[in-house]
Amino acid sequence: MSLLQVKNLVVEFPHRRGTLRALDDISFDIAPGEILGVVGESGAGKSLTGASIIGLLEPPGRVASGEILLEGRRIDNLPFDEMRKVRGRQIGAIFQDPLTSLNPLYSVGRQLIETITTHLPVNQSEARKRAIQLLRDTGIPAAEQRIDHFPHQFSGGMRQRVVIALALAAEPQLIVADEPTTALDVSIQAQIITLLKTICKDRGAAVMLITHDMGVIAETCDRVAVMYAGRIAEIGPVHEVINHPAHPYTAGLMACIPDMSVDRERLHQIDGAMPRLNAIPAGCAYNPRCDRVFDRCHAERPDLMPAGVTRAACWLHAGSSAAQILAQGVAA
C-alpha cells in the first residue's frame, strides 16, 4: 500500500477577478521508503503541492477538492489540532533556506528538544540525548557542544543539517523537502543530498524531493513527477523520464539543460514562458509552446495516460490503452 496518496488535488486562490486554480487535478502517490522527485519551472506548483500535503497552505489558498491520504487516512480535512499532530510526527518538512528556517533567538538544541517533546512522550533529558544523537547522525561534529549554539553560529551547510535533524526529530514516515539545496554552495549540495538520501534509507522514511535541478533528481530519486502550470505533465521512474521523455515538455526541458558530454553551439530552447495562472490556455496548458501540437491539444485537456513505462498528460499518447478511451469518454 502506498504511504501517501494524492487524489485529484485542486488548490485555489480566490481572487478579485475570479478564482485562480494553482493546482489543477493532481494525483500521485508515494510508497514507503520511496524518493519521489518533483521538478518543474518556477511557479509550476511544486511548493503548493508540498504545502497542501503538510496542511500549511497559506490563506487565502485552499484545497478546493480532492483528497490527501496518509496511510489510508484522509488528512486534508483534519481539524487543526489533529493535523498539527501529523505534522512533524508523521510528515516532516524541509524548506529552501536554512538560514531563515531556524529561529535566530533560540539555540538549535532548544528547537530540537521542543520538537521532540511536542511529539514524543519523553522528558527533557532524554529529549536532549536524542537531540544530540540526531545532530550526530546528520553529521555535525562535536554535537554535545554545538547543541547549545545559535543558528547564526553555523555555516550554511551545517544549518541545513540542523534543519534536517529537526525534520527527522519525531521520526516521520514522510519528508517533504522543498528545494533543500538551492541556497547552498555547489560542493555542499552534494553533501546534503547524500545525507538526506542515506538517512532516509536508514530510517525507512519516504521523501518527496522538490527541486528544479534535474541533476539532483537524476541521482537521488526513484520516481519523478514533472509539473507544468499546476498540472503533472509526466510521472514515472526517473531513468525513463530522463532518457525517454514521453511528454514534449519533458523532452524540451531535458534538451534545455546544457550537457557536459556534448558540445552544442546553441541550446535547445522552448520559446515563450509558462502561462500565468489567469491565462492558462484551453486544452493542454503546454499547447502554445509545444512543437508537436495538433488540434486536439487546443480543444481538450489531457489527463495522465500511460506512455510506455511512464504516464504522461499528452494527447500524443492517447488511445494507447483502454483506460484512456474510458477517460476520453468521461471528458467528452
Binding site: 498539527r84 512533524g88 510526527r89 516532516g92 518538512a93 533556506d97 511536542t118 549554539h149 525534520a167 526529530a169
Partner: protein
C-alpha cells in the same frame, strides 16, 4: 560590548551637550526673567542691576559655558523664580513624573502588547478591526482633551477619582512614592490613563505590524511544519521575535511619555517635572529649563542604552563576537 557602551556614552555626551547648546540658544528668546523677578514698582536701576547680577547681559556662549561647567559638577544653579536649587526642585519632582510615566508605560505595554498580538493573530476578525479603529481614537484625540473629559466624567460627575494632584505620598529617602498608598493609586489612575492612551495605540499597532511580519517568516512556517502547538508558535516563537524590534520603538516612546507628561501634568496638576517646566517656560526660568532639557536628554540616552543592552541579552546574534568563532 564594553566598547559599545563606551561609544554610546560618548555619543550620549555629544547629544546632551548639543541639546543644552541648542536650548541655550533658544532661551535667549523665550522671555525675560527679570520682568518677573522684580515687582511692578522696581526702578530701571534695579532691573539693570539684576540683569548684570544674573549674568543675563553676557553673550549666550558665556552663559552656556558657565552652565556647562556647573552642570558637569552636577550643579544647575538657582531657579530664578523660586530662588531654590534647581537640582532640589527637580529632585523633588522627578519621582512624580517617573512614577506617572512608569505606570502609564506599564499600562500601555500590558494592554498594548496583548491587543496587538490579538489583532495580528485574528487579522480581519471583527474584534481586531474594532481594536484597530478604536485605538485610532487614541491618536486622534488631543491628550489635553482626553484628560479634561476624564476629569469631567470620573471626577466631577461620578466622583470616582480625584481630579488633581498626587494624593498621599510616602517618603523613601529622597524618593517620594505615591504608589504605596491606596489614595496614591486613586490619584494616579486618571493621569496615567490619559498618558497611556497614546502610547497604547502606538504599541498595539507596532506589535500588530511586527507580528504580522514575523508570522510570515520561514522559521514560523517551519515551526508549524514541525507540528508545534499554536501556543508554542505564537507565544514561544513569534512573540519573542516580535518584541525585539518593538523594544527600540518602545524605548523611544518612553522618552515620549515623559514629554507628553507635560500636558498630562498640566491638566491634572500632577506635581512632576513637566509642570515645573511649563511654569519655568512662562517665567523664562532659564536654569530650570536647561536642567530639565538636560535631564530629558539624559533619560532618553539612558533608556536607549538600556534598550541596546537588552538587545544584547535577547538577541544571540549580537553576542556573536563573544560566543562565536568555534
Amino acid at each position: 560590548m564594553f566598547a559599545f557602551i563606551l561609544r554610546r556614552l560618548a555619543q550620549a555626551v555629544v547629544v546632551m551637550v548639543s541639546v543644552t547648546l541648542i536650548a541655550f540658544m533658544l532661551f535667549q528668546y523665550v522671555g525675560d526673567p527679570v520682568v518677573f523677578l522684580l515687582g511692578q514698582d522696581a526702578t530701571p536701576e534695579q532691573i539693570r542691576e539684576l540683569r548684570v547680577d544674573l549674568g543675563l547681559d553676557q553673550p549666550f556662549v558665556v552663559q552656556f559655558w558657565h552652565f556647562l561647567v556647573n552642570a558637569v559638577q552636577g550643579e544647575f544653579g538657582l531657579s530664578l523664580r523660586q530662588g531654590a536649587k534647581v537640582s532640589r526642585l527637580i529632585g523633588e519632582r522627578l519621582p512624580a513624573t517617573l512614577e506617572l510615566a512608569l505606570v502609564a508605560g506599564v499600562m500601555a505595554l500590558a494592554l498594548g502588547i496583548p491587543m496587538g498580538v490579538y489583532a495580528a493573530l485574528k487579522r480581519g476578525s471583527f474584534t481586531s478591526q474594532l481594536f484597530m479603529t478604536i485605538s485610532l481614537l487614541g491618536v486622534s484625540l488631543p491628550t489635553f482633551l482626553i484628560g479634561i473629559l476624564l476629569i469631567l466624567v470620573f471626577a466631577v460627575q461620578l466622583g470616582w477619582f480625584p481630579s488633581f494632584g498626587r494624593g498621599d505620598v510616602v517618603q523613601l529617602g529622597w524618593w517620594s512614592s505615591g504608589l504605596l498608598t491606596a489614595k496614591g493609586w486613586l490619584h494616579i489612575t486618571l493621569p496615567a490613563i490619559t498618558l497611556a492612551i497614546f502610547q497604547l495605540t502606538l504599541i498595539m499597532r507596532l506589535v500588530r505590524a511586527e507580528m504580522l511580519e514575523v508570522l510570515r517568516t520561514d522559521y514560523i512556517k517551519f515551526a508549524r511544519a514541525r507540528g508545534l502547538t499554536n501556543r508554542a508558535v505564537h507565544f514561544g516563537h513569534a512573540l519573542k521575535n516580535t518584541l525585539v524590534p518593538v523594544m527600540t520603538i518602545t524605548g523611544l516612546q518612553l522618552g515620549g511619555l515623559i514629554a507628553f507628561a507635560i500636558i498630562t501634568e498640566t491638566v491634572f496638576q500632577w506635581p512632576g517635572m513637566g509642570l515645573l517646566f511649563i511654569q519655568a517656560v512662562t517665567f523664562a526660568d532659564i536654569p530650570v529649563m536647561a536642567a530639565y532639557l538636560c535631564l530629558i536628554a539624559l533619560i532618553f540616552v539612558v533608556i536607549n542604552l538600556i534598550v541596546d543592552l537588552l538587545y544584547f541579552a535577547v538577541d544571540p546574534r549580537l553576542r556573536a563576537d563573544k560566543a562565536g568563532g568555534h
